[in-house]
Symmetry: C2
Subunit: 163 residues, 2 copies
């Protein structure tokens, strides 16, 4: 099937204390208190007006360090192989990452955030506000994720991270 290729230009860079891929916890909820800076290219600073009043924002980024693409993968929280679209693994066909982080403050073109699980130097693609009434589904169930005990999640989620 012919498809039009889509070209994106990063709008900034994400700075974090995470410099080794295998030492990054798997999700922002396991990165409480870890701070980072989202530095937009100055020409985009105007687009941030109003964002400082949100407590949480989505960062869309490029998994630039992920070289591999694989349609089947074993996620960190499981021992079973499954389809990559049933996981949050970076080894997906289009390497778009999504992190929901806590906003601390905005200064010109820089957003200070906390609870960040992103590799240092990651290219930023987009920022969107988190809105509880649009973005939460209280009744959701989560397939294989629901079968993992809280102990197992705690033990596996931080990977090799050391504070």
């Amino acid at each position: 099937m012919p498809r039009t290729e889509i070209h994106l230009n990063p709008i900034g860079i994400i700075h974090t204390p995470h410099t080794k891929l295998d030492e990054i916890p798997i999700q922002p909820v396991f990165c409480e208190g870890i701070e980072g800076e989202v530095v937009l290219d100055p020409q985009y600073a105007e687009g941030l007006e109003g964002i400082e009043a949100f407590s949480h924002i989505y960062l869309f980024f490029h998994f630039h360090a992920a070289k591999k693409t694989s349609l089947r993968t074993i996620p960190y929280l499981s021992d079973e192989e499954m389809g990559v679209f049933a996981t949050r693994s970076p080894s997906r066909p289009n390497k778009i990452g999504l992190s929901l982080v806590r906003l601390i403050g905005v200064e010109n073109n820089i957003i200070k955030v906390s609870d960040i699980d992103i590799m240092n130097g990651t290219p930023l693609l987009d920022v969107k506000p988190y809105v509880q009434r649009f973005d939460s589904r209280e009744s959701a169930h989560s397939g294989w994720q629901d079968q993992i005990s809280e102990e197992s999640v705690k033990a596996r989620s931080k990977r090799n991270f050391r504070k």
Copy 2:
């Protein structure tokens, strides 16, 4: 600042009953019961294994019909102009859309979904599972969104949509 351009190839097409841009409600939560089909190119079908057990999934797509880019915008729920990154408007620099939809079922390379707010024929970029413990923030506050009354949200959110 020099940047590496990122090239993405759509992995499928999203089919919905929405054929006119100005008749699409602004978020999936206002599209209850509206069904659609996410048709992946057959070579990606293997990546869907396990996703059928999730009740909700994120669709990442290209706002292909959005021609305009503007760093300031007036969102549908407000009368005030603000930075585009404080809104979910399509007129953002990188036209990546995110919708959280309800999964009905999977058949080979086709995902049947409900509560869909996406234009018919939209290129699909990625699918990720929604996991309540990663993706919800109960204590969140939402800036200008919190100042809009429920009546106003109800009146504005459906735009020109007619069932």
